[in-house]
Amino acid sequence: MSTTTSETGAPAAPARFPRETPIQYATTLLVVVLVAAPLLPVLYQSLLDGALYDHDARLTLGNFVRLAQNEGFPRILWNTFLLAGLTTVVAQLFGTLAAILFGRTDLPGARVLGELFLWPLYLSALVLSFGWYTIYGPAGYVTLFWQSLFGDAPWNLYSLGGMAVIAGVSQAPLAYLYCLSSAGMTDPTLEEAARVSGAGTFRTLWRVTLPLMMPAIAYSAVLNFTIGLELLSVPLIFGEPAGINVLTTFLFNISATSPRPDHGLAATAAALMLIVICFLVWLQGRLLGNTRRFVTLGGKATRPRPFRLGGLRWPLFAAALVYVVMTGVAPIAMLILRAFTSFLSPMIPLADVLTLDNFAALLNEPVYARAVTNSFLVSLVGAALATALIGMVALIVHRSEFRFRGPLHYVALFPRAVPGVVAGIGFFYAFALIPGIGGIRNSIWILVIAFTMRFIPAGLGAVAPMLLQVSPDLDRAARVQGADWWTTTRRIMMPLMRPALVACYTILFISFFKEYSTAIFLFAPGSEVIGTALLQTWVQGEVGVVAGLAAIQVAVIAVCITTARAIFGVKLHG
């Protein structure tokens, strides 16, 4: 070009110490500290004969011996694995059936039913438990109705079976989603080959579709088993009163609520749990590798011709409708209705009991009002901070030449293997150990920190796939033109990642908003959140307030999901 000026070629570079280096190392350090913070104290405490903040505590293996000799412990282990196992069976059964029925057949209203089937995924198992209690509990609506007609109800939520059904129903959506994306669902050719060769509908389902779904079923089974082991809410609400203890409630009882906590024993049990979950997460990784091979990705596969249900079409529709209403819609609806009433029973006309007293109590009691405000604060602000961190981690892992990006990725995904209760106990120790941060310990920031650590993998799961869809040429182009990594990240990658970050923020907001299992170990007077307040008021027997709080949680999550979908087109799963 004619009018040449001075700046040609590379931009005038200052004496260069690459700017990205401190940013990348700082992010990595933050993630490592965040992930290690709860884990190291737990492992350390399990080897001490006193509390880890006592100066005269000594190293010992005694805790392991005590745990092994603890009279109730074998029973607790048995209950834990039995509950997780039964939960998995229930979840896989319903999830797989739903996937076939809603995904592969000409069932009327399959789309809407499929949406409703997913509901429990968005709510916490805690809220679902309350919903079930309102309907199927000893004084539940349906229970009372049944009693008035036929005498004693044949079901009992306060049993391993009852708990497994509730937990299974709340986890069935996971199995459903994985099965939907499996080859059995999306690759028509194999199936059509079977049909052409004369196999009937059910034969084809049984011999072709189902086997093709096996990898997805196996993976989601291990996932659900893991979640079943970590579950706190259902056993706490229904197991405790019936004297059925599992690992999580055992941990809860000897640490958080106990006036004389046994730190050694708690940490040892937590460490044990950590090891088991680590193994299961490793197993998930192996199975996922297998699943991927069976998943048909991309738009090439047209959805196969749905199976004709024929005469079974309407009976199956009725069955599916009954399932969706009985397990999800009705419990939630009744719980919300309960929030607006003083008492709920089929014997009393609804008009007589309608009231806003529960919400008045929520507003007037500072504890409850604070819990709601805190929940909003933790979720709004905490999710923003966490999204920023997760975005940086994703960019470093997937879009930089950072030397330790592999290890960073590994560490960032590690919290998958850390159950909520273990994280709770661990952060509790960590903050007890480190002097001078007492201020954080009694504030909601400890919750923000702990929640962030727990949900890094979930956030990455939302960001990474979308990030990988952004062509690497786009950032490479900026680099060639003279932008360093940090400028490229800010000016090119971050704007392009906006949808991914919105999805991440939405998922984190919801997760933070419904989280309780970590918070229950960490909150202090003044830093209650809805999850902890729910458990506390439940213990106090204030069912109306519980319903009110739960209704608020459900409403906020519903609004959040609807907004995210409508405005940003965010996909929250699959």
Binding site: E7, G9, P11, S471, D473, L474, R476, D484, R491, I492
Partner: protein, 365 residues
């Protein structure tokens, strides 16, 4: 502007040597094309120059500035190099307008606002895109996007210009026009340029010199005339559009002229610069336009040889016929205006222009 020196460049991906000992010197202002089939290492070479991939061995020096030196461990990150690279995908930033895309490199260089505006306007005018400054990339056609990508690169007057198959995403008609346009532009700019393509017409029409690559190595380096008329081996010949290869044996070696025997015993006379060994196995290559059906009564003379061939296929391709022939085991393709009648045809092969390769693959004539 600067010259470019690539020496002994090696880039491995696992066991694959994507670039295998490549050395090229591109003079200041020269336009050199890397030509080769997909996967031969063209993009990898280009990425090494731009600094997007760190090579394993070799040296890259541009205008005296060492970009990369494997032996010394020197490696400049891409942003410190000042190359201009136009991506095959154009890589326009979808969240920025054309103006914002093009001004980005100037902002990085802290050029003041007035000057920025002037230079963006100038370069957009150069690529005839000044009317589209406020559009977003998705509102542009492929050809327009390609021009913007080029403008975004030219605006900061890069030391060297690197173009990775810039025309391959355009449809055939647009590609022809864009090629002519690019040829004009290159004479106007006179930038040192490395151009990557798998299209021999682009390579032949645009380049000062062509580097034909095969499996990560340089198969031949030369002017378009060199490459076209004197391909170094059958691979180059094939790639440059010579589609007819006949296996033969040297019957009578001679300086100036050699007599070759084809698979079915027929003999042809070809011009040979170097002496042949009696009985050596060779391959002789003809481009389709060098061969024709012999006229009635035509016989072998000083200009060429007449041989008998068998007709295998004939297909009408619009205005002409493509005829598939068999000549002593070698399949041939010939274009004629009238299809040969019957199964046999008399074929005229020129004495000059055919290229004789020794069986090893190296040029022999």
């Amino acid at each position: 502007m600067a010259d470019l020196l690539i020496e002994g460049l090696v880039k491995r991906f696992g066991d694959v040597r994507a670039v295998d000992n490549v050395s090229i010197h591109v003079a200041d202002g020269e336009f050199v094309t890397l030509l080769g089939p997909s996967g031969c290492g063209k993009s990898t070479t280009l990425a090494a120059v731009a600094g997007l991939d760190r090579p394993d061995e070799g040296r890259i020096i541009v205008g005296g500035k060492t970009y990369f030196d494997g032996a010394r461990g020197t490696y400049l990150p891409p942003e410190a190099r000042g190359c201009g690279l136009v991506f095959q995908s154009y890589a326009l930033w979808p969240h920025m307008t054309v103006f914002d895309n093009v001004v980005f490199p100037l902002t990085l260089r802290k050029v003041n606002a007035a000057e920025r505006k002037r230079r963006v306007a100038e370069v957009l005018a150069l690529v005839e895109m000044e009317r589209f400054a406020d559009r977003y990339p998705h509102m542009l056609s492929g050809g327009q996007q390609q021009r913007v990508a080029l403008a975004r690169t030219l605006v900061y007057q890069p030391a060297i210009l690197l173009l990775d198959e810039p025309l391959s995403n355009l449809d055939a008609k647009l590609r022809d026009r864009a090629r002519v346009w690019l040829a004009e532009l290159r004479t106007r700019l006179g930038l040192t340029t490395i151009y990557v393509t798998h299209d021999q017409i682009e390579a032949l029409s645009l380049s000062d010199r062509i580097v034909v690559m095969n499996g990560g190595r340089i198969a031949q380096l030369g002017t378009p005339q060199d490459i076209y008329e004197r391909p170094a081996d059958p691979f180059v010949a094939d790639f440059i559009g010579t589609t007819n290869f006949l296996p033969a044996k040297v019957a009578e070696p001679g300086v100036g002229t050699a007599l070759l025997e084809l698979g079915n015993g027929q003999r042809i006379e070809v011009a040979a610069e170097r002496a042949q060994t009696q009985g050596a196995r060779v391959t002789i290559a003809f481009r389709p336009e060098q061969m024709r059906v012999a006229t009635a009564g035509e016989v072998t003379n000083g200009e060429g040889s007449v041989v008998d061939a068998r007709v295998l296929t004939r297909s009408y391709v619009g205005g002409r016929w493509q005829v598939g022939l068999d000549l002593g085991g070698g399949p041939l393709r010939l274009e004629t205006e009238t299809p040969p009648a019957g199964d046999a045809v008399r074929l005229w092969l020129p004495r000059h222009g055919g290229i004789v390769f020794r069986e090893s693959g190296h040029v022999a004539a």
